[in-house]
Structure formats: structure tokens, C-alpha cells
Symmetry: C2
Subunit: 166 residues, 2 copies
């Protein structure tokens, strides 16, 4: 079986981008079939666009690409597709960038942590249960009942850090 699109936290330089996209789309399609969701043409297309960039993509960038295919499209078209993809875990929103990235593990809920490289602008997804648990525990210890975690970590990915510091 082909490797999942995000086995590595950061996509490696030489990963097979085409198959990585295809895998992600296939996975979404399968999930939708299983869950009885409608993976419409627009939703598929938006997901493709996001994966194609393999980097955080703004709603209006998506809109432009959509227009390239379909002639016309308005913001609600994009936001509605993104809402669907977000709700069902196929993309994540990076709040600190107002942008969206594909999710490599569209299975059930998971508290993700994002590593945002300030140099190459790529985003890696860390799904570390230790982090999620520690945060939940610390929050509970002050009486706070956690429902969602937004964790965005800025810095330099391995590749860019090596390029910078030798």
C-alpha cells in the first residue's frame, strides 16, 4: 500500500507529491462514502487545490484557482466547501495565518499541533497525544473543561534551519 501523505511531519524534499495528493483525495472520498457524506465536485476541487499547494492556502487563493476551472465563483462557494472539509477533518485552519492546509489523518477527531516554518512557509502536522493530554490536564487543574485546542508553533523546519545555520 502507498504510504500515507503525511508519514513524515514535514514533507520531505523528494516525496511523491502527485501520489500524496491522490492519496489524500482518495482517503477523503472513502471517508465520505463510509460516513454517507457528499463529496461533491466543488469540495473535491477545493481539497485538491489545498493539497496541491502543500502549504497554507488562503480562501481567496483557492477562489482564484476555482475560477480558473469554473469561470465564475464567489467567496461563499469557497467558504462553504472549506466548512465542509473542516467539519469532517479533511483540512485544518491555521488561525495565525488565516489559511488552510490538508489534513493527513482524516480519521476521527485528533488534537493536532502545527509546525509552521517561517522560511519556506510549509506546515507540518504533529499529532502528539502527549501534548494534547498535558494541556488537557493542566487546563482541568484550574477547573477548565477543554473542548478544542489550537496549537500553532512557529519556527524553522529542519531543512531551513540547516540552510540557515550550516
Amino acid at each position: 500500500m502507498a504510504s500515507s501523505p503525511m508519514d513524515e511531519t514535514f514533507p520531505t524534499r523528494d516525496h511523491d507529491h502527485n501520489s500524496c495528493i491522490a492519496d489524500a483525495i482518495d482517503a477523503a472520498e472513502r471517508e465520505c462514502r463510509e460516513r454517507g457524506l457528499r463529496f461533491t465536485e466543488i469540495r473535491r476541487r477545493v481539497l485538491e487545490i489545498v493539497w496541491n499547494r502543500h502549504a497554507p492556502t488562503g480562501a481567496y487563493d483557492i477562489l482564484e484557482e476555482l475560477r480558473d476551472d469554473r469561470g465564475s465563483a464567489a467567496p461563499p462557494t469557497v467558504y462553504r466547501a472549506l466548512d465542509f472539509l473542516l467539519e469532517n477533518g479533511f483540512v485544518h485552519k491555521i488561525e495565525s495565518l488565516n489559511a488552510f492546509v490538508g489534513c493527513g489523518r482524516p480519521d476521527g477527531d485528533h488534537a493536532a499541533q502545527f509546525l509552521i516554518c517561517g522560511k519556506c512557509r510549509q506546515v507540518g502536522e504533529l499529532d502528539d497525544p502527549d501534548i494534547a493530554r498535558l494541556i488537557a490536564r493542566k487546563a482541568r487543574s484550574v477547573g477548565f473543561d477543554v473542548s478544542r485546542q489550537t496549537i500553532e508553533i512557529e519556527g524553522l523546519c529542519r531543512h531551513c534551519a540547516e540552510a540557515a545555520y550550516g
Copy 2:
């Protein structure tokens, strides 16, 4: 000495709001004097407005209040003041709300974690070094060099959780 404005993660029901604001402003004033920064009228006023709400405040809400005092003001006035306050650690931005909160510990850098109550919309600041360290360690373990952490935790504060679940 008066207690710092954020001894508790969440402001208690009965905390002395007036003195809590005054303390925060005084602390900022002192820090600015020590660091040779200009704590101008506008900057002070914006900081006051943010503390007054004691909840995440949007830039345009600040703008409105500013206009109440000064007759006229434009967005850049607010954003410039916020930039100053952010750079110097007197406020934080809550990325997931596009809003700003006062920082109770304007001393040097600290990686903060925010607890956002979905019910009363108040925000508590957790400055937990264990969380910051664990995240830094996990990130480093995949070769990522961390420079900033954005951690926003949504849920219910103690008070609202108790009200909801009895």
C-alpha cells in the same frame, strides 16, 4: 503590595476590577520607563480599553471607544498602538478570535497558553512552562526549531462549566 491582576488564571467573580486595571497600567508604565519606551497617551488609552473589558477585544471595538474620547481616530491608530503593546508584551493577540487581551505578566518573554471560555467569552492566561517545554522538545525531536508558540484552548471555565453541569 497589591496582588497582580492575574494571580488567578481566570478573574474571579469578585476581584477588584478597578485596581486590577490600575495595576496593569502601572506595571506597563514602569516597564516602559525602565526600558526607555514611550508610553504615550494613545498607547495607555488602548491598554486601558483592553483591560477594561477584561475579555478579548477587537481592534474596531477599541477604535470605537477611542473615538468616544478623542473625536476622531482611524484604524492605523489602533493597530499601531496594538503593535507597540504586542511587541512589548503588554497585550496578547488571540488568533482564533482576532482579538486582544491584556497580559498580566508583562515581564520578558513567556510562552502563554490561553483558556477561552466559549460561554462567558472570558480568557484566562496559563503560563505553564511544562507545556511550553514539552512542545519545544517534541518539535525539536522532528528537527523543528521553535521561535513562537500560539496555544489557544477552547472550552468552559470553571464557573460556566458548573453552571452548565450543576
